[in-house]
C-alpha cells in the first residue's frame, strides 16, 4: 500500500514561515481534496513535497512508503512515484516535447523503452487528453494555450504513472469540455492504476466530477480540518467562515505584496557579465 506521510512540516519561503507544523497522510486509493484560503500554504505544501529549492524545510518529515523523501533529490522523488502537476507549467524553448517525454519515460523504466513502445503510449495518452499528436513535435508548452498546458500536465501524469499525484489547480483556465476531459483522465488513472491524489482546487465543478474521497483544509499553515466529501461541499456553499466560528480559528489575511517584491519590467538591453550563481 503506497502511502505519503507528512509529519509536523515547517516550511519557509523567503524567510517567512508558511507551513507551521502540518500533518497529512495520503494513501493509494484516496483522492484528497486540499482546500484553504489563498496564501495559507496549499501550493507551498506541494512544492515542498516535490523538492522545489525555493521552499526551505526547517522541521518535520515527509515519508513515501517509509522512505525519507527529504533526503532524495527532485528527480529521485519523481522516480520513486511522486508527481506534481504545476499550477503554471513553464514553457521551455527549444526542448521538443516528444524528446522530453521519452527521456522522462525512460528514466522511470528499468528496461530500455523502444521507439515503438514510446510512440504507442504517447499516442494513446494524447487521445485521452485530446491533444493533437503533432503538438509534441513543438517545444515544451511553447505556444500552448492555458488549457493545453494543463492537459499536457495530465498527459505527463499518465505517461509516468505515479504512486501519488499532486495536482495544483489543474482546473484553472479550463473550459467546460476540458474540465470534463481532465476529470475523466484523473478518474481513469485512479480506477485503473490506483494512484493516490492530492488535489488543490477552488471550484466545486472539478470535485463534483472526480468525487474526492476525503477533504483536508489548510489554514494558517496547518491542516485544521479533515473529513469526507461533505467538507468541500460545505466550503463551496459557505466559504471558510464557519470553520473560523466552529473551530475557533482566527484566519490570517494573505499579506499584501510589499512594494519591494514587485518587479518592474524594463525593455532594454541587458548586459549581465557574470552568472549570479
Amino acid at each position: 500500500m503506497d502511502v505519503l506521510e507528512i509529519k509536523d512540516l515547517h516550511v519557509t519561503v523567503e524567510n517567512k514561515e508558511i507551513l507551521k507544523g502540518l500533518n497529512l497522510t495520503i494513501q493509494k486509493g484516496e483522492k484528497v481534496a486540499l482546500l484553504g484560503p489563498n496564501g495559507h500554504g496549499k501550493s507551498t505544501l506541494l512544492n515542498a513535497i516535490m523538492g522545489n529549492s525555493r521552499y526551505k524545510i526547517t522541521k518535520g518529515k515527509i515519508l513515501l512508503n517509509g522512505e525519507n523523501v527529504l533526503e532524495m533529490k527532485v528527480d529521485e522523488r519523481s522516480r520513486k512515484g511522486l508527481f506534481l502537476a504545476f499550477q503554471n507549467p513553464v514553457e521551455i524553448p527549444g526542448v521538443i516535447s516528444a524528446d522530453f517525454y521519452k527521456s522522462a519515460i525512460q528514466e522511470h523504466s528499468e528496461k530500455r523503452v523502444s521507439l515503438y513502445q514510446f510512440y504507442k503510449v504517447l499516442d494513446d495518452a494524447s487521445k485521452e487528453v485530446k491533444i493533437p499528436f503533432e503538438m509534441f513535435n513543438r517545444p515544451l508548452n511553447d505556444g500552448f494555450s492555458g488549457g493545453e498546458k494543463k492537459r499536457n500536465e495530465i498527459l505527463q501524469m499518465m505517461l509516468l504513472n505515479p504512486k501519488i499525484a499532486m495536482l495544483d489547480e489543474i482546473d484553472s483556465g479550463l473550459d467546460v469540455d476540458a474540465i470534463n476531459t481532465v476529470s475523466e483522465c484523473i478518474n481513469k488513472q485512479f480506477n485503473e492504476k490506483g494512484t493516490g491524489f492530492l488535489i488543490i482546487s477552488h471550484y466545486a465543478r472539478l470535485f463534483e466530477l472526480i468525487k474526492p474521497t476525503r477533504s483536508a483544509v489548510i489554514i494558517n499553515g496547518k491542516v485544521v480540518l479533515e473529513g469526507g466529501p461533505e467538507v468541500y461541499k460545505r466550503i463551496d456553499k459557505e466559504g471558510y467562515e464557519w470553520i473560523k466560528d466552529e473551530f475557533n480559528i482566527s484566519i490570517e489575511n494573505e499579506n499584501e505584496k510589499a512594494m519591494n517584491q514587485v518587479s518592474i519590467g524594463v525593455c532594454a538591453t541587458k548586459e549581465i557579465i557574470k552568472n549570479e550563481k
Binding site: 528527480d75 506534481l84 527549444g94 538591453t269
Partner: protein, 250 residues
C-alpha cells in the same frame, strides 16, 4: 567560388568575392570555415539567396555585405561551433520594396574563446522586413559579444524589424554581451527587440527534474534546445556533424 548545376556554391576561393544573383534566380551557398574573407552579394529583383555559414574549426572570420533589390530575399544561417576566436560581420541593405532578410545563429563558446558578431540591417525601401534571431551557450571562461543594429530609415514605411537574442551562461567564468539596437526614423513601421542573458533557468530545471530527469541530463536538454533549432536549416551532411558538435560540446 565553385558552383554546381544545382545553383549551389560550396566555398570561397578568393578573399574578396562579389556575387551577383540574377533576376528570379535562387542560389544556395554553404560556407564552411572561412578565414579573413569578404563576400559581397547583390540580389536582383525576385531573387533568393540562402547562405549557410558553418564555423567548425579554428580562427574563422568573414565580412559579409548584402544589397537587396525589389522582392528579393537573403536568408543567412550561421552555426558557430568553432574552437578559438572567431568573428563575423554582416551588413544587409534592404534597398527596395518588399526586400526581406533574416539572420539566424547558434553559437557555442568555450575554452576561453572570444567570439564577436556584428549584424546590421538598413531598411531603405518600403515594406522591407528584417529578422535577427540568435541563441548561444557560453562556458569555460569564454566571451561572446553580439551587436545587432536594425535601422529603419525615414522613407521605409510599413517595414518590419525584429531582434531576439538569448544566451545561457553555463558557469561563473563565462560572459556574454548583447546589444540589440533599433534605430527608427519612420513612423509607420513595426519593430520589436528582446534579449536575455543568464544562467540556466531554475524553473525550467525544476520542471525537468520533477519528471525524473537527472540534473546533468536536464541541463543538456535545455542547452541542446537552445542550439539545435539552427540544425534543420543545413544540409544533411552538415546536420549530422552539427548535432555531434552540439552533443559533444555540452
Amino acid at each position: 567560388m565553385k558552383s554546381n548545376p544545382n545553383n549551389f556554391i560550396s566555398f570561397l576561393n578568393e578573399k574578396e568575392q562579389t556575387l551577383n544573383i540574377k533576376k528570379g534566380e535562387v542560389l544556395n551557398i554553404n560556407l564552411v570555415d572561412i578565414f579573413d574573407a569578404n563576400l559581397d552579394i547583390f540580389l536582383q529583383e525576385n531573387s533568393v539567396c540562402n547562405l549557410r555559414i558553418f564555423y567548425k574549426n579554428e580562427k574563422n572570420s568573414l565580412v559579409l555585405h548584402g544589397n537587396l533589390t525589389k522582392n528579393s530575399a537573403l536568408n543567412i544561417y550561421f552555426a558557430d561551433f568553432s574552437s578559438g576566436d572567431s568573428t563575423l560581420s554582416s551588413n544587409v541593405i534592404l534597398l527596395d520594396e518588399n526586400a526581406k532578410s533574416s539572420f539566424k545563429f547558434s553559437s557555442l563558446t568555450k575554452n576561453e574563446d572570444h567570439k564577436k558578431y556584428s549584424i546590421s540591417f538598413s531598411h531603405i525601401g518600403g515594406k522591407t522586413v528584417s529578422e535577427l534571431e540568435g541563441y548561444s551557450v557560453n562556458m569555460d571562461s569564454s566571451r561572446l559579444k553580439v551587436e545587432g543594429v536594425s535601422h529603419i530609415e525615414k522613407d521605409s514605411i510599413k517595414s518590419k524589424a525584429s531582434q531576439k537574442i538569448r544566451s545561457i551562461l553555463f558557469d561563473e567564468t563565462s560572459s556574454a554581451i548583447a546589444n540589440p539596437i533599433l534605430k527608427i526614423d519612420c513612423d509607420d513601421i513595426e519593430a520589436n527587440h528582446a534579449c536575455a542573458i543568464g544562467s540556466l533557468n531554475d524553473d525550467h530545471l525544476f520542471y525537468l527534474l520533477s519528471r525524473g530527469i537527472p540534473l546533468n541530463d536536464a541541463k543538456k536538454l535545455i542547452t541542446y534546445g537552445y542550439l539545435n533549432p539552427i540544425v534543420h536549416y543545413f544540409d544533411e551532411d552538415d546536420q549530422k556533424e552539427l548535432k555531434e558538435l552540439i552533443e559533444g560540446g555540452i
